[in-house]
């Protein structure tokens, strides 16, 4: 028994003096600019910007400041109604982020819970949820969106609901698959064996173990949602004036593309940059949370 009574010198050592890994560095590298953009958009009302909806028709289609005919009073130029493009971009970003975030949460919460339920309970519960997921994934998104918005009218809650409806199936599928493997782990069997109630196992033990995948998925979904919202607004199914989103700006600028490229190109660039950053951030998170790199 002497071996049992030794004092192990090394426990707790893993948490000290940890050097940031390459994974962490890229999470920060992509996360920081994203956080900056989001912060600027969310703090828009506090920034010294002109009213994004103030129309000055005499100033219409003024080019960005660095071009001939530009003026620093509107650094990124004005649109066909003389509204300041910079100000509209920032305020539009605000709504874009709010929609992306609420749409993501509205899809993630039911998706994760249903996936957890399907994976853990299996049997008919799983069969029903899995068929629903497949049905959802088989339907083309734009078609579903057009049908719902045409039937219910355009409004922000409906837009968020449409985006959630499109997103939940992805979460449900991934979380179900992970739960299936997790539920066979001895620690889960041990909890069942110890008589811990099912809801407690699912929410208290499985959910924290799924948090990594869920976070990665949610991040990647944000990019998809920004794109989807832009597509819907571009088609005239999304945000209604006087609300501004990048997709709506893109749609309005389309007619002026040959005359004034900046009106459409700048929101387009903003969408591209944010979606790209979100995806890179999600990928960085994924390699950070990769189970193969975890040390247990």
């Amino acid at each position: 028994m002497s071996a049992l009574t030794r004092t192990p010198a090394t426990y707790g050592a893993g948490s000290k003096g940890r050097v940031p890994s390459r994974g962490t560095a890229s999470v920060i590298a992509f996360g920081a600019p994203l956080a900056c953009i989001a912060l600027i958009a969310l703090l828009a009302p506090l920034l010294p910007l002109s009213n994004p909806n103030a129309q000055v028709l005499s100033e219409a289609l003024r080019p960005p400041a660095w071009l001939e005919g530009g003026d620093w009073s509107s650094p990124l130029g004005t649109d066909q109604l003389g509204r300041d493009v910079l100000s509209r971009l920032v305020f539009g970003g605000q709504l874009t982020f709010v929609i992306a975030f609420t749409g993501m949460v509205a899809g993630a919460v039911p998706g994760i819970l249903l996936g957890l339920l399907a994976g853990y309970r299996r049997g008919w519960v799983d069969a029903v949820i899995s068929r629903l997921v497949e049905a959802q994934l088989a339907l083309p998104f734009i078609l579903v969106a057009i049908a719902i918005i045409a039937a219910n009218g355009r409004s922000l809650p409906i837009l968020v609901a449409v985006l959630a409806l499109v997103g939940w199936a992805q979460y449900a599928r991934v979380i179900r698959a992970e739960t299936l493997s997790l539920r066979e782990r001895p620690f889960v069997l041990g909890l069942r064996c110890a008589g811990v109630p099912t809801w407690r196992i699912m929410l208290g033990h499985l959910l924290p173990n799924l948090a990594g995948s869920a976070t990665v998925l949610a991040t990647l979904q944000m990019g998809t949602i920004v794109l989807a919202e832009s597509a819907l607004s571009f088609l005239g199914l999304g945000v209604v004036a006087p609300d501004i989103s990048w997709g709506a700006m893109l749609a309005e600028g389309r007619e002026q593309l040959t005359l004034a490229w900046w009106v459409a190109l700048l929101p387009g660039l903003a969408i591209t940059a944010v979606v790209l950053l979100v995806n890179l951030f999600g990928d960085a998170l994924r390699s950070r949370f990769d189970p193969k790199k975890r040390s247990f």
């Binding site: 028994m1 192990p8 426990y11 782990r185 620690f187 110890a194 247990f296």
Partner: protein, 333 residues
């Protein structure tokens, strides 16, 4: 010594696309207080299924189709037992094979232990729970319980984790502990520690234990009694030393002969492979691989032959060797 856990003619069936198949057939077991019963068998022999039936962790399509499992005389195998949840955990603890996966990687050891204690001993105060955890970890050979309680599983070594998972199984003072291959994944020195721990657990706390393993020599060393399983049936039981030194069933003999020894040129394997699971069968399941099998072995129904008060074998040859027996099925093990 009273019997804590008993299984009477337990048959476990799995529903498959092609109808039900028997995973475990007509198993009888008895474990008394402070006794360690070794359940020996190769992969697929049904030993883990039998153990899981006891703790109620069978897969959805698997069920105990006949017979009964009883804990201190109370049936726990029927689905009507609604307080099964309270039985497991408080009366039965289970230790699993893989120590690294027996604990929730994201939760501190102390929190996991507390959760189980609180579930079953609600009357305990916070202070009493802390004392109990301290006590159980000291029993598991930890000199610094407070530090272990504040650690995450990945901060502990493999042997420590396995000792913590044993603590998790015994923290509620269960009457029976089911240990499913719980030393197989450990290296030899840690294995020795854990075996020592299990032994002291049964002698100090009078806990009954079912020790599932494929390691015959380990079972001989640790267990008081041994039951050998083959293709879903128990084919021999008896005193641990007796079974190893004087095996009666040809399969047990072949198993012992297959253990490599020093200076041996070639390891003696058993020809062929175990039969596939089936809905029903005739005769002895080992007969096709048995070196001493005769024609009748595959045709007649093989009964249980007691060879002592708590020992016996399922073999025609043993039946012939025991003159007084009549192939009675009663109360074996």
């Amino acid at each position: 010594m009273s019997t804590v856990l008993s299984a009477r003619s337990v048959t476990i069936e799995a529903a498959t696309g092609a109808g039900p198949v028997k995973l475990v057939h007509d198993v009888n077991l008895d474990i008394r207080e402070g006794e360690i019963l070794g359940l020996i068998g190769e992969s697929g022999s049904g030993k883990t299924t039998a153990a899981r039936a006891i703790v109620g962790l069978l897969e959805r399509n698997v069920r105990v189709s006949s017979g009964e499992i009883a804990l201190r005389g109370k049936t726990i195998s029927s689905p009507e037992v609604d307080d099964f949840r309270n039985v497991r955990g408080s009366e039965i603890g289970m230790v699993f094979q893989s120590a690294s996966m027996s604990l929730n990687p994201l939760m501190k050891v102390g929190k996991q232990l507390k959760e189980v204690v609180r579930r079953h001993q609600r009357h305990l105060s916070r202070q009493q729970i802390t004392e109990r955890l301290d006590q159980v970890l000291r029993q598991m050979g930890f000199t610094d319980p407070a530090r272990v309680l504040a650690s995450f599983p990945h901060q502990l070594s493999g042997g420590m984790r396995q000792r913590v998972s044993i603590a998790l199984a015994v923290v509620t003072n269960p009457a029976v502990v089911i240990a499913d291959e719980c030393t197989s994944a450990l290296d030899v020195t840690t294995q020795a520690e854990v075996v020592q721990l299990l032994r002291s657990l049964t002698t100090d706390s009078r806990t009954a234990m079912l020790f599932v393993t494929h390691d015959l020599m380990l079972a001989q060393d640790l267990c008081s009694r041994i039951a050998v399983m083959y293709a879903g049936q128990i084919i021999e039981t008896g005193d641990a030393r007796e079974v190893v030194s004087n095996p009666r069933h040809p399969y047990t003999r072949a198993l012992l002969a297959a253990i490599p020894t020093w200076g041996e040129e070639e390891i003696q394997g058993i020809e062929g492979s175990p039969p596939r699971v089936a809905a029903d069968w005739q005769g002895c399941r080992f007969a096709p691989r048995c070196p001493v099998a005769r024609d009748e072995c595959t045709r007649t129904r093989i009964g249980w032959t007691p060879t002592g008060t708590r020992s016996g074998a399922r073999c025609l040859i043993v039946e012939e060797e025991e003159p007084e027996s009549s192939g009675s099925m009663l109360d074996h093990v």
